[in-house]
């Protein structure tokens, strides 16, 4: 691992930025996704038979009719799996096929391989499965009551929350249920497994974590990891949903491919995907906050229960991150934050952009809105008062917020969005408008960058230079649309000093870079970009050594800039120089490696530095609500976001806008719904509504906060994938603000998450009820006073 060469710290600002490496292929339909690959003539297709009970023993399974269905080639149950049946990413409990019991509706019990997907889907319906139902737990509240957890509870503390709470002049005690979110990547889960001649397989996966697919495929087959090769060229969206969940498809396809000695494709139709794969966790958060008359938080006690589903999956990290972000941008002098891993008999929930963080941040922002109404201040003033700043830098887990940028960023946005004048105008509008109400909110986000599992904070890369001067780069990161391949290619070109066009990106393969971490935690560029940079520096070092010897020049007489090799007074083209180096037997290939410095969190002490740095941002959202129905529109959004020194501002802005809209969707129209049996009723895009183009405000201003990362990240950039999702919380707060206008901001009414029109309608009803009550109270008091 090396430091940035000093001549390379200028960043990418003045460069002509490349577009997404696949942009032309996307628009012409030439970009190949797994389902687009030509099929082999003998390829088989998979469907699984699914549990119809949330929690039950399996008494018997009769698959005779399934086997007899024309076109069915193979049918397997758990005992047919040659190796291990457990395909959990970290811990245990996730079974490729259920055995004697099921623990969620939709769990795979058996799998069918047939000559077409249609036949496989028709065949699975013919199974006869007899269950003996058991009592099921479907709600995180129930899991807390019954103390049913997938993992032990963890608590973070600072100061003395209980004692400080006693001293606080104001207190709010309440709770909020935050629903989860379906990923709805446009390309559903898919894998193709092709057996090789050595008893292993080649797996084409749509996965954010090819190394894990490789490891688990080896496990279920009972072969060595080296016998399995996994390749990922691109995903049609991931958002966390293909971090752990994609492995099941690779494993199932591999088992059937080995058994039948033919290629096998497992593609989940949308409805199976929505029923069988995990989602963002629901959280039930209860809170007590004590604060001063000014609205300064004195103490906070939070109990956060994640709905983990039937197994642990990645829930330990998800609930930890929810806890790490329950402060969001605000200093909590005294706090107790407990995170519970609730077990429910529902599909095991998983990673989703923000990884628990959004559930902490939303709690923090809901608390601020309520404090503001209680002390009669604009919520923005309460935010600024509590914001991390000089003298208020310690997080509840002990890491210092070293970069003091939040307040500056918030104030810059307050100014540029004209927040104060719009606030005045909105108050005026609401006074005069009986049927339509407007709301406004500015919310910040501070998001910790690094995997909270320390070992994952490593990246690997492989760089080759060919004799014509073309460069090939492989790294452990996967491309899901976020532009990682483009950014890493830029880093390689820049570090070499050569034209971007010379750099070729290729698919991510487990035989190029081993043991890679998932592309997750927003860390794709940080880890893989640094690893690629390291490899380039190694090759460049060799080239420099060669040049010094061959041309008898000093070390500093060698440079590569603007695609030219400078050798003292001479220059040479890059291909020419590379050819010369090759003829002189210089190694033109290198691996690169990076591990994130400084980090470490002591779980026992619940103190430490889980994050290398924080990415920051803020958004102002304005909404207009129809009081008859609770329907609303977002009319303006202004965002200022901190990506350090941007590597590709076009790509970064795309990430910010996309994340914002995804976060807005989570909190507005996207509502997961389950029936009393534990069956998900929102199982298709017909009843689960992600935002459309009409939901995006016409006034949508996004700017980058212009400041280099103070930590030594790759070209002083900052991670961008997840943090801006939480800027969507400004829409929820603006809707809450519009509701509060109904009672002249005396009270911030509870607003369900997501804030569907129904939720907003009842938020307004609650505000109106508060208003009527306080008016009648005032009247009674007046009457009593008059009577005296």
């Amino acid at each position: 691992m090396r430091k940035l060469p000093s001549d390379l710290v200028t960043g990418f600002k003045s460069d002509k930025l490349p577009m997404h490496e696949s942009a032309v292929k996307h628009v012409t339909g030439q970009a190949v996704y797994i389902d687009d690959m030509p099929e082999w003539p003998n390829e088989l297709h998979v469907a699984t038979g699914k549990s119809t009970e949330a929690h039950a023993d399996i008494v018997s399974i009769n698959l005779d009719k399934v086997r007899a269905y024309p076109g069915v080639v193979d049918v397997i149950v758990q005992s047919d799996i040659p190796g291990e049946v457990d395909v959990s990413p970290v811990l245990s409990g996730d079974l490729l096929l259920a055995g004697d019991f099921v623990h969620f509706i939709g769990q795979s019990i058996f799998a069918v391989a047939a000559t077409s997907l249609r036949i496989a889907k028709q065949a699975v319906e013919l199974a006869e499965v007899v269950y003996k139902p058991r009592i099921s737990t479907l709600h995180p509240k129930e899991s807390l009551e019954r103390q049913e957890f997938v993992l032990p509870t963890h608590t973070i503390q600072c100061g003395d929350a209980k004692a400080a709470m006693e001293t606080a002049p104001h207190k709010i005690k309440s709770d909020i249920y935050i629903k989860g979110q379906e990923h709805f990547y446009l390309e559903g889960q898919i894998s193709v497994a092709v057996p090789n001649e050595d008893g292993g397989v080649l797996v084409y996966a749509s996965s954010q974590h090819p190394a894990e697919v490789q490891k688990l495929v080896a496990k279920v087959l009972g072969v060595s990891v080296a016998q399995v090769l996994v390749e990922v060229r691109r995903m049609g969206g991931g958002f966390g949903g293909k971090e752990s969940q994609a492995a099941v498809l690779g494993c199932m396809a591999a088992v059937l491919a080995i058994r039948n000695r033919c290629p096998v494709k497992y593609r989940m139709p949308r409805q199976d995907d929505m029923v069988q794969t995990g989602k963002r966790h629901d959280f039930w958060n209860s809170y007590e906050v004590g604060f001063s008359a000014e609205g300064e938080i004195i103490s906070a006690e939070y109990d956060m229960v994640g709905k983990c589903g039937c197994t642990a999956d990645l829930s330990d990290g998800v609930v930890d991150r929810a806890m790490f972000h329950a402060d969001n941008a605000y200093f909590l002098p005294n706090a107790r934050i407990s995170g519970y891993r609730g077990k429910t008999h529902t599909v095991s929930n998983t990673a989703f952009r923000g990884f628990g963080g959004p559930k902490g941040v939303l709690l923090a922002e809901a608390v601020i809105e309520e404090i503001a109404c209680t002390v009669g201040k604009d919520a923005l003033d309460v935010r600024k008062l509590n914001c991390y700043q000089e003298g208020k830098t310690k997080t509840p887990y002990g890491q210092d917020v070293e970069e003091n940028v939040l307040l500056t960023l918030i104030e810059e946005l307050e100014e540029s969005s004209d927040y104060r004048a719009r606030r005045e105008a909105i108050r005026e509008f609401n006074k005069q408008s009986p049927f339509l109400k407007k709301g406004l909110a500015l919310t910040p986000v501070k998001f910790g960058i690094s995997f909270t599992s320390k070992h994952l904070n490593q990246g690997g890369a492989l760089v080759h230079v060919y004799t014509d001067g073309s460069v090939h780069i492989s790294h452990g990161g996967t491309e899901m649309g976020q532009g990682l391949y483009t950014k890493v290619a830029q880093i390689v070109a820049k570090t070499f000093g050569i034209d971007y066009q010379r750099v070729n990106v290729s698919s991510t393969r487990t035989d190029k870079v081993p043991n890679a971490s998932p592309t997750a935690a927003s860390a794709g560029t940080d880890l893989n970009g640094m690893a690629a940079l390291d490899a380039v520096v190694t090759i460049k070092g060799r080239l420099q050594e060669f040049a010094m010897e061959h041309f008898s020049i000093a070390a500093d007489a060698f440079a590569i800039t603007d695609d030219q090799v400078i050798l003292g007074g001479e220059t040479m083209s890059f291909p020419e120089f590379i050819k010369l180096a090759y003829m002189n037997r210089v190694s033109l290939s290198s691996t690169g490696f990076y591990k994130t410095p400084k980090i470490g969190y002591d779980r026992k002490a619940a103190k430490g530095r889980p994050f290398l740095y924080f990415s920051n941002g803020a958004a102002v959202s304005e909404v207009i609500v129809d009081t008859f129905t609770g329907e609303y529109k977002v009319t303006q959004v202004d965002i200022l976001h901190d990506v350090g020194d941007s590597i590709n501002s076009d790509i970064d802005i795309g990430q910010i806008e996309g994340a914002f809209v995804q976060g807005m969707g989570w909190l507005t129209t996207e509502e997961l719904s389950w029936d009393e049996k534990g069956r998900i009723t929102t199982n298709s895009p017909a009843n689960y509504k992600i935002p459309t183009s009409a939901d995006v405000p016409e006034k949508f201003n996004v700017k980058l906060f212009d400041r280099a990362n103070s930590e030594e990240s790759v070209y002083r950039s900052k991670a961008v994938g997840e943090p801006p999702l939480m800027l969507g919380i400004s829409v929820w707060c603006a809707l809450k603000d519009a509701c509060a206008s109904v009672c002249d901001y005396q009270f911030s009414p509870p607003l369900a998450v997501p804030a569907t029109p129904e939720a907003v309608f009842y938020g307004m009803q609650a505000a109106q009820a508060f208003q009527s009550e306080s008016q009648s109270k005032q009247k009674t008091e007046k009457d009593q006073a008059a009577n005296l």
Partner: protein
């Protein structure tokens, strides 16, 4: 099955009736640019363009290939993403203006939805250029209303749509598909040589006249009737049911007409939502506004009025509208006889209608008198675009001398069928139109009259509260109060600024 696929003539009679256009392109032709995102017509990743000749001109529109039987494309020009760059390549160096604009504005991230967006935008480009209409934000959002993107947040895609004309100019892109004589003459040759009825094909029958329709329906008594297929095909693509013989009624000339005889407006059963939308735009703006909230552009291009009514879904949006106007349904029997049933008598229970096995819907008659009376349609759903109603109210008031002399309150989403609130209607009859007391009593009546269900779209409580509030909204509008109803269209500046509302109705007493 015979149609023009990009630049190739397809002639293939080996496929099952329900084989979708999407599967045909991907599995039979290797045209994998078109994607399956949901196979239910909800995401638009499978969007294709279809060109048809109408009154001598070639018109292109979008449709969801995932729920469209490939055989329904007889005689049409089907355009997939692969064609655009080849076609555009003639003048522009490789990319169609829609593609070029998408690239320049960073309109793709993961790229999976992108070909669908490109085709929706290319369709908009064709239509705007051939009709000389400017492309504005509203038209872009309308064109992509059925395309979901999970990565970009849409802003760059909308910007790309707005910038297509510029990229076309820069690339000196001249030739429109709709002006391409070669395509035109190939399509015209179809019509002349062979009727699409192809009655010899045993699995997918496409009669073009009523007489032919009756003939094939007699010969294939068990065959399923299909028009747009936007709901029917879900049985095939979501539940994997095979259909057997299908009779496609969408080419029957008599069923495609909108006619007006001076007292009655007659809407043919095979009139699509889009056709009714364009027809009503200037004539019946409230009907137009409702249609813009129904499904997406792609679905509206295929779905028909007859299908929406015959399907008998309790959450369909057109039945309440027709109930509000007391529409008569003309039913046609295979022996050629007809009978008239009022829409109020048509629905008999959940998904049950008066339609006999040997009958079909021919048309709907709506009195022009009633169309001239006060009417409003309010749709409440979680999302503005392409969502199913939690509650829909269609209301008509006849006013004489300051009194309500006829009242229709028809709901979707409130019962097992589309339903009129008869007791509430009766309670309002004869009342003075600005009598708020009468209105409040009416709302009480409604609460005891309807008992809606709770489901994933809304709670029973909300549905009932909405029913009450929407009646109040209609009543306010009847009395001249300007209330805003959000539609799929952009909010105007005047809505966002003060002065648009009459503030005489103080307080919030809804629900």
């Amino acid at each position: 099955m015979k149609f023009l696929l990009n630049d190739k003539l397809i002639d293939d009679n080996t496929l099952p009736s329900d084989f979708t256009a999407l599967r045909y392109l991907r599995e039979e032709r290797g045209l994998t640019g078109t994607k399956e995102g949901c196979a239910s017509g909800d995401c638009g990743a499978c969007t294709l363009l279809v060109g048809v000749i109408k009154e001598g001109e070639l018109h292109y529109s979008t449709f969801n290939s995932c729920i469209t039987p490939v055989q329904s494309l007889y005689g049409k020009h089907v355009v997939s993403v692969e064609y655009l760059s080849e076609f555009g390549g003639k003048a522009s160096g490789g990319l169609h203006p829609a593609q070029q604009a998408m690239v320049e504005h960073h309109g793709s991230q993961c790229g999976f939805c992108t070909p669908g967006f490109v085709l929706s935008l290319a369709g908009l480009f064709e239509n705007s250029q051939s009709s000389d209409k400017a492309i504005d934000r509203e038209s872009v959002c309308d064109a992509i209303s059925g395309n979901l993107c999970r990565c970009t947040g849409y802003r760059p895609i909308i910007d790309a749509g707005l910038d297509m004309v510029r990229t076309a100019k820069d690339a000196q892109f001249i030739e429109l598909m709709s002006k391409n004589d070669n395509i035109k003459s190939q399509l015209l040759a179809f019509k002349e040589v062979e009727k699409p009825a192809s009655l010899s094909n045993q699995s997918y029958l496409q009669p073009t006249t009523l007489a032919e329709l009756l003939q094939v329906k007699t010969a294939h008594a068990d065959a399923i009737m299909i028009a747009g297929g936007t709901d029917l095909m879900l049985e095939n693509t979501q539940r994997f049911h095979d259909f057997g013989t299908l009779i496609d009624v969408s080419h029957v000339a008599e069923l495609k007409q909108i006619q007006c005889n001076g007292t009655t407006l007659t809407l043919g059963a095979s009139v699509t939502y889009s056709e009714l939308e364009y027809f009503s735009k200037t004539r019946y703006p409230h009907i137009y506004n409702l249609l813009s909230r129904i499904a997406s552009r792609q679905i509206r291009n295929r779905g028909t009025i007859g299908g929406n009514v015959a399907n008998a879904s309790p959450i369909a949006d057109l039945p309440p509208l027709l109930l509000a106007f007391d529409a008569d349904i003309q039913l046609l029997k295979i022996d050629g006889s007809t009978r008239t049933v009022n829409i109020a008598d048509f629905y008999q229970g959940y998904k049950q209608t008066q339609l006999a096995k040997d009958e079909m819907i021919a048309s709907f008659d709506v009195s022009l008198n009633k169309l001239a009376q006060f009417h409003r349609f309010y749709k409440v759903s979680k999302r503005m675009e392409d969502d199913i109603s939690s509650v829909m109210l269609a209301v008509r008031f006849e006013v004489d001398n300051g009194h309500l002399t006829d009242v229709r309150l028809a709901f979707g989403g409130m019962a097992a069928t589309p339903i009129r609130a008869l007791k509430t209607e009766a309670a309002l009859m004869g009342k003075v139109i600005n009598d708020e007391q009468a209105l409040l009593q009416t709302i009480d009546t409604l609460r005891s009259e309807l008992m809606p269900l709770s489901d994933m779209r809304a709670s029973s409580r909300y549905r009932l509260d909405m029913a009450c509030n929407l009646i109040r909204k209609a009543w306010l509008e009847l009395n001249g109060t300007d209330v805003v109803t959000f539609s799929g269209h952009a909010l105007s500046e005047s809505v966002l600024s003060l002065g648009n509302e009459i503030t005489s109705q103080e307080g919030m007493t809804h629900a």
